[in-house]
């Protein structure tokens, strides 16, 4: 077993385990901590996939900013461990579980079955591409710096419109959030 393989299985177990912990902990603080753990795991997975820059952003934005936001809110609410963490309603609960279970089964089954068809071909193509790219591209753009540079060029040329649109969106969100925070109960205002 090579280190790569070991790393993948280790991280996969970490992510799934901490993901389940988010779901199962009744105390929101523990859930939030498990979520942070998951985020870090995902960032590590990104690194194994050579997406160094994205992994960094993941750590800063998710594990940093978003998690702080969550923890802040939990602190604000002063929430203790909940007596009833899950929704009541036996029938709807059963239906939800069945739906989730079926969905997971279907997705995993679909991926494995699809190996022979779509994904399989893609893998072969990808393998061929990798083989081709390995010879030329990887030598030219070896290392984290080159990959990040490539990402930056694509972001500011090919996807510049989406990038600008995101900027507008973030501005709108910032204004909206402030407005929400200042409001005194919306339509129920006295």
């Amino acid at each position: 077993m090579t280190p790569d393989v070991f790393l993948f299985w280790f991280l996969a177990l970490l992510i799934v385990g901490s993901g389940l912990a988010v779901l199962l902990f009744t105390n929101p603080v523990y859930s939030a901590l498990s979520l942070a753990m998951t985020m870090v795991g995902v960032a590590a997975i990104f690194i194994t996939l050579n997406a160094y820059f994205i992994a960094g952003v993941q750590l800063i934005v998710y594990a940093g900013a978003v998690m702080v936001l969550f923890v802040m809110v939990i602190m604000l609410f002063d929430i203790k461990s909940e007596v009833q963490a899950f929704t009541s309603g036996k029938i709807s609960g059963a239906m939800k579980l069945i739906a989730v279970g079926l969905l997971s089964g279907l997705i995993v089954g679909g991926i494995i079955m699809g190996q022979k068809s779509f994904v399989g071909e893609l893998s072969k193509d990808a393998a061929a591409q990798v083989a081709e790219a390995n010879s030329a591209k990887m030598k030219r753009a070896a290392g984290a710096d080159a990959a990040t540079k490539e990402l930056g060029v694509a972001l500011f040329t090919k996807h510049i419109f989406g990038f600008e649109a995101l900027g507008v969106l973030l501005t709108a969100i910032a204004v909206g959030t402030v407005a929400l925070a200042r409001s005194r109960g919306g339509t129920h205002a006295k």
């Binding site: 993901g19 985020m39 969550f70 929704t87 989730v100 990402l151 995101l166």
Partner: protein
């Protein structure tokens, strides 16, 4: 049955299955938890799961567009978390309540 090659050859499928499992866990959280904040966390889990598959595809097709998409998703996820939490705070301030069930009263 997972053969030994399944355990040793880490292919695209492994990442996809990891992604889908994480997605389903997040979904179960959204469906089953009562606390709005935990539901928002579960949403983040789902978005992360999608990000994993994006990056995996990007790597296995040597296409940088997947990473750009992840970049966008992250931005929007952060925005969504900000708005969602702001809403939760506003409602909590008014009604002292974080149970999603309580939000039924918001319908007309």
């Amino acid at each position: 049955m997972p053969s030994s090659s399944f355990l040793t050859d880490i292919s695209l499928n492994h990442y996809l299955i990891l992604s889908s499992v994480l997605f389903v866990i997040g979904m179960a959280g959204v469906l089953l938890r009562r606390n709005v904040i935990v539901i928002l966390m579960s949403l983040e889990l789902m978005l992360n799961a999608v990000n994993i598959s994006f990056i995996a595809f990007s790597k296995f097709t040597q296409n940088v567009d997947g990473q750009i998409m992840v970049f966008f998703v992250m931005t929007i996820a952060a925005a969504e978390a900000a708005v969602g939490l702001a809403l939760a705070v506003a409602i909590f301030k008014r009604f002292k309540e974080v149970n999603i069930k309580f939000f039924e009263h918001l319908r007309g």
